[in-house]
Symmetry: C4
Subunit: 198 residues, 4 copies
């Protein structure tokens, strides 16, 4: 097996998870005021956008990570597969959050679940960078100095998802804003003005 | 990351979005006159064909665009991911339009939503060509002269989807015909008699 | 674009259509005799196996065809995309047939629809070989002599699906046996004892 | 066709089957105690994790197998497609098991079905190694000595799934633990300390 094969499976799971999000968008049935019924489903559209962006960003970051990897051992492969397990599950907390975002106690529970599942995904990502730091023999020559920075930057994910899950206990909407801001943070914090792909 | 990786994710999302359309085709339950019940669902089949054709054409055009790209910067990557966000959502307005195409006011709302979502997709496509025109350093040598023509041709999309959304206010069926004609226009307006792939 | 890209999209759509078939397998709800309820759903399992085999065989044959193609023009690309439109729709007639296979008149309608949709897929396949015969400049050097044989062999598909649709008017179960036999015919009629992939 | 193409289809089906598992995770509707309702669905989460792990492991083992294959004949191709048929169906017994895991007689039936379907998948895998042993001309030079070990190790799958199906007659929960342990066995029994991908 080559690391290319791992990336092919990963690309497939990222693409499918992102596209399956659409199946959670509700179609009002027998609506007599479609505009109003669609407007009522705004949490579904907002959750779609945030989860799609999040999956896209994890995909970008996953490629940054794999670009540093020259070879994979069993431990690294298992961490990647665990990350994919959490990526593939994202449509579920997304649908849960969309369904219950407006409602008091249930909204809090749904937003806590969203924060914990995506926090577990982010933690796996951090763990993978940490694993690479501990096993430098797996790295592409010349990429060792990128690892500590990437590891530190990746810590933002688990911390902010945990904060979001705590905020969800007070206000699910506020927690949702935090989850959206994480995606925006990672989208804008990348280095600009340089090619990202050649 | 290479631009090949972006194309692999894009190919995946195009293929999945096109194939997920089938999940919106209704199976009549407990039908006692299946032929009549199937005939009654004609808007679903028509919407399937139009949305599948549209996704296929955007896929072809997306490859024409990526063939001009030698390297991607953060801005280009974000535009491509935004395009994929809209491609992945296509099954939702398709199902909405199929559900409400026949009905008066609700049909208008559904067709306006279809026009706006696909118009947003087409606008992102135009924006990507415009971005490439402004950042010629990202282009493959020798492809610069293709960009202005492609940018102009791509403007047809946003304009006609907007027109379709306006027409939908009067007649959802007529708007649907416009959406079908956009697909046909792009399918036949490509240069013929030349290889499109080698 | 390269013909490799067309094959990547095609591989994606074949894989997704084949895998989406599973979503049509019913899960009995609140069953008090699960064994009996599962046994009652036998047409779903039979239809799953036949449609999965059929998609797999069309995938194999599609690769045999693409192996003869050195370059694609617009016409060939459109035929391939039309084939993919029919491949992607297969889960729908499969679910319809599974739902109504046992019932008299409705079973006939469902089996006719299955035969017509898969017949349209097979006809597109035949049309693609015919197109290649008419445009030999698209062929890999040395593959011209394979085309007439492949074109003739591919004619079995449209003819037998049409026959199956006619038989369905008398007996949906008998038509289903014909659809299963087409898959078996193509599976065993390939040349044996030679590598199919290297 | 090249063996790469077979792996591309296989990678696609593995990725899609693993990701479709998420669609079987229930979203409680109109819940007034979401935490309790989510906790009540624990068999769904457990079944998701076990089936995702199982598909991931079969994917890893499938690549180990394909790494030994220099060329494919018709028989090998058919065995691979049969394996993919069973991989693609995994979300169905997973949902069935999750739905009925807690309940007495129906839970036993559901767990037997799970064991038999995954046992059929494992048996196809074993049959493929056995086929390669019988057709050494298909092997990459220098990989012949790996085959007997791999064949023997792959026998664990069919045997333990069969045992699990028998245990399910007494206790569905105990059978589920066995199914989880198979995944863990294959995950940890691979050789450690060596690169698995380069």
């Amino acid at each position: 097996m080559t690391t290319n094969r791992i990336q092919a499976l990963a690309d497939g799971i990222f693409a499918i998870a992102a596209t399956l999000l659409v199946l959670e968008l509700p179609i009002p049935s027998d609506s007599t005021d479609l505009l109003k019924d669609l407007a009522h489903d705004w949490p579904s559209y907002a959750a779609y956008v945030v989860s799609f962006m999040t999956i896209a960003i994890v995909w970008v970051n996953h490629h940054s990570l794999m670009d540093c990897v020259a070879r994979a051992d069993r431990g690294l492969l298992e961490l990647v597969l665990l990350l994919l397990l959490f990526v593939a599950i994202v449509p579920w907390p997304t649908a849960l959050l969309a369904e219950y975002l407006r409602e008091g106690t249930q909204g809090s529970t749904a937003a806590v679940v969203y924060g914990l599942v995506l926090g577990a995904m982010a933690t796996t990502f951090t763990a993978t960078w940490w694993y690479l730091k501990r096993h430098p023999q797996l790295l592409e020559p010349g990429t060792e100095e990128r690892v500590p920075t990437a590891l530190r930057r990746s810590l933002v994910g688990p911390l902010v998802y945990l904060a979001g899950a705590l905020i969800a206990l007070i206000s699910p909407i506020l927690a949702f804003v935090v989850f959206a801001l994480i995606a925006v943070f990672f989208a804008v914090s990348g280095r600009r003005g340089r090619p990202v792909a050649t």
